[in-house]
Symmetry: C2
Subunit: 554 residues, 2 copies
């Protein structure tokens, strides 16, 4: 059986201008990066068009070690829509290189449902993440230089919240001390690195409408507090212009293609467990302006990426999904029902039926928004007919429809039924029912997310988090939307609680204000903003030969 990278490297890609032409992107709107990647800048008329295609949001049950294949289904579904004659596009996030070299692998789909050039996209792509890393650390250097050069802003070195960032899984950089080595080498203080995808600049890049919006948002970033405990912003430091210059190309969406040459926009890559978890507003909107059907995904389960897409991205995008697809697999549901990860090949109806509770919670939480919801069962060869029937029965019983798909093996041909169904469901009129209003008090928003989306009892704040909310109320920051930073493995904040736990509390240890992005991050449980490498990092298995053929990348 061929590996993903083997399939990807053997694929015959179309020149990117040919892919672009299928959705009416002209040569002058295209900035090529090699022959198979490009940045796009639509002309004025297209960029301001309010005629938008149908939006299909792909989300999933809680992920497990078994893998759910959400990106694979997203890609295969767009190919299926194209196959049945629709003008379809995909809008995805860019993979982060940290996990590519670490544990998670890339995020370009798999098997016959992949985005290519796979290796490039999973590595440096068009340099957007690198531009973000550079801008992020330039800001950090300017902050420490301000301390060094007489501290004109009266910054409190103990209250600087702008950390440093790298697109590397590196736990040793989580907690560090900097500025050691004497008076010529800075002011000593505690600091740390986040992974680049957790940077507020990443969030801002995925939210900004244009260069000037980008600059205005950068100016609003709070980097810390002065000795009077007043917030200090990038505007105070005077480097918003330089940081915007560093991001002038990163703000443009990137065009690539699926194995079946369906156009794909990949842009921005915030993780859904620590940030807003969806691709950029600009890319999604551009795709909607170009195609009749846009398939997009939100990171991890519906509790993380799904909730953030609907509560945070939808108001900014000005467009609700026309259908939500929840991806589930027999294997992951069995794990959620307590099956052993080493016996997933065996039929296990009791575990499956127990695990279906996880799907049930996500069905309820997504259906509450008023958008049509369907389930895609991403089939594995070891799934039995009885197992598939069990899921379908459960879904129908809950008032929805389920469609087995085989896109990994068959590409677009493996999801034609689902594609046909979506052409119908996306025509249905629906009234979007928001979970909360931005202006509600933070505590109310938090409790609504936990109760209505996670199925829990509510939140419990640490004393630090309580103190922060009191301060934020004075500053007016409590009226910002909430971005929960929570483990992806459980509906609760305890990664080990699978299935559909009840009566749990979500423990909020700290808030991080992101005024440029326009949200408050709530750090729950033990979630970290800098991952570590596993005992056997993926990097150990990656290689390249004298002909440039890459192996081990996944």
């Amino acid at each position: 059986m061929k590996t993903d990278i083997e399939i990807a490297q053997a694929a015959e890609l179309w020149p990117i201008n040919k892919v672009a032409a299928t959705v009416g992107i002209t040569e002058t709107e295209l900035e090529p990066y090699g022959y198979d990647k490009a940045k796009i800048v639509l002309d004025e008329a297209k960029a301001t068009s309010t005629k938008l295609g149908k939006l299909i949001l792909v989300t999933s049950i809680n992920p497990t070690v078994a893998g759910e294949g959400k990106s694979t289904v997203t890609v295969g579904l767009a190919d299926a829509l194209a196959k049945i004659g629709q003008k379809a596009m995909v809008a995805l996030r860019e993979p982060s290189m940290g996990p590519v070299m670490g544990m998670k692998g890339g995020a370009t789909g798999g098997g016959m449902a992949q985005v290519v050039p796979m290796a490039d996209i999973n590595l440096h792509f068009t340099g957007d993440f690198h531009a973000l890393t550079s801008a992020h650390n330039t800001l950090a250097a300017v902050i420490d230089n301000s301390l060094q050069q007489g501290n004109p802003l009266n910054l409190d070195p103990r209250r600087i919240i702008w950390k440093r960032a790298l697109d590397v899984n590196d736990r040793a950089l989580r907690h560090i001390t900097i500025g050691l080595g004497g008076p010529t080498s800075g002011v000593p203080r505690e600091d740390g690195f986040d992974i680049t995808v957790a940077s507020e600049l990443m969030a801002i890049l995925t939210l900004a409408h244009d260069l000037m919006d980008l600059k205005a948002r950068i100016k609003r970033i709070v980097i810390g507090y002065n000795y009077d405990k007043e917030p200090v912003t990038v505007a105070d430091l005077g480097v918003a212009g330089a940081l915007t210059v560093m991001l002038k190309d990163a703000i443009k969406p990137n065009l690539v293609q699926t194995l079946a040459h369906t156009p794909v926009l990949i842009h921005g890559g915030p993780f859904a467990n620590i940030a807003q978890g969806t691709n950029s507003i600009k890319a999604t909107k551009t795709a909607l302006q170009l195609a009749d059907y846009v398939v997009t995904e939100a990171g991890f389960g519906a509790d993380l990426g799904g909730e953030k897409f609907l509560d945070f991205k939808v108001p900014l995008l000005g467009k609700t999904p026309d259908t939500i697809v929840i991806v589930a697999t027999v294997r992951a549901l069995k794990l959620n029902g307590g099956a052993d990860k080493n016996s997933l090949k065996n039929e296990d109806l009791p575990a499956l039926e127990k695990g279906l509770a996880n799907l049930g919670q996500h069905l309820r939480s997504m259906a509450r928004y008023g958008v049509p919801v369907v389930v895609a069962i991403n089939r594995f060869t070891t799934d039995t007919d009885a197992e598939l029937a069990s899921i379908e029965h459960y879904v129908v019983e809950h008032g929805h429809a389920a469609y087995p798909v085989t896109v990994w093996a068959d590409g677009g041909a493996g999801a034609e039924n689902l594609a046909q169904a979506l052409v119908e469901t996306t025509q249905q009129a629906h009234v979007f029912n928001p979970l909360y209003d931005f202006s509600e008090p933070a505590l109310d928003k938090l409790n609504k997310i936990v109760q209505e989306i996670y199925g829990g009892a509510g939140v419990e704040l640490s004393s630090k988090a309580e103190q922060q909310l009191r301060t934020y109320a004075k500053l007016g920051w409590d009226r910002l939307p909430i971005i929960m930073a929570k483990t992806q493995y459980s509906l609760s904040d305890d990664a080990k609680l699978l299935g559909a736990p009840r009566d749990f509390k979500i423990h909020i240890r700290e808030f991080v204000p992101k005024l440029g992005a326009g949200f408050l991050v709530a750090l729950t449980g033990t979630i970290l903003t800098m991952p570590g490498l596993p005992k056997h990092p993926a990097a150990l298995d990656i290689d390249i030969d004298e002909h440039g053929v890459i192996t081990g990348l996944s």
Copy 2:
């Protein structure tokens, strides 16, 4: 008067394939990055051609705050050669973004002698430096992960010499402690960041002939020592393949153009004060395979970049320069002669004549290699005829010729005399006279550099450096060539000693072995491998408007 960025942004660039065509680069050899940048991969026949053009090495006197304009002369000279009908190319280093946002500014020339697109080249360009930064820090993360995961290599955390790297001027990262925060966040130890251009991976990228040479060199990198004090390499860690994959595109030279559309290869960017200071072997060789005249530069003064080019790069390139051009300015020579930096506009023949000793030392040191040497006087409008005559008289008296150039104001037209002269000097037969043989003991090589190039008395080793040389002799490392890390402002290791000091010692505080690159770095005086930002960083003056027009970048 227009600024450099205004001139650059107003320039009408040729499409990069048109520029490529002027030196016979075909479409299939070109990977476009936008319409005005490309990576090039020559076909087999061209890549293995041994028919090489003439090589002109541009170096200079010791730089001063007045600026010497070495890149400007390099660019203008190539345009001048093109103007008089020669097939010319430029081979340059890529600017580092740290200094671009800090103090030094970019490195794409100035006025009418610039390489464009100037902003892109000075910012992210084609992502090569970012790829190096990523690979560098991935290796660092893998090292700390090895400590965390049971330390199978028995690494001594106190003796890890592979630091981390960022392309940012950030003094607060010079000396740090990492791995704090408890057992899940790494093993505490001392560490630090270098600027990316100082990374051994940068050196390796500029030296590697192809992907497999790159991988082989990466394997040889010594990252530290185990508890038995034996060196531990990247090969031991098993990630050379992954790091090579991350650099698979960075190894390809980048093609851009001058304002006059002369093709320019820009590739690699090691500083000459802390690394080997020249662009890549691959780019220089490629240019020599494509053009009849290749103008290249080596960083800072002839004592740094010049010496390293001749002693280290020439043997690897397999080609000596056919003429060396030393750039001098009236202003810089006056500063070297003790003039005040605020009165450089006034004629000051005594200071100039005193400062000429600096030029004299560089003339002697370059002439000793047996290659023809000429002087280019980069004219400023405030230079008086008497001052220019004084330099010309001095140079002629020392057996060389001097040519005033006005490339900043006039582009190629400002260096036609020099270009004509070089067509003749590069035809002269010469016998290259190396300064040392790699196999000589380290101390002999060090003393030769100080005595014959700097005009000093010799080296003085710290006790640590002495101890290192004893260890290296056992390991066979003392037979490696030497890369001096020394201040650029003086021939000595004291930045304040201008002119041509005598009888000084160079103080070597520490060696850093770079087995992958294949040299020993000798850290002298107080030279640092991570710069800091000045009181008023350049970033404060950089901005961009809604039309994408950039200001303040230089």
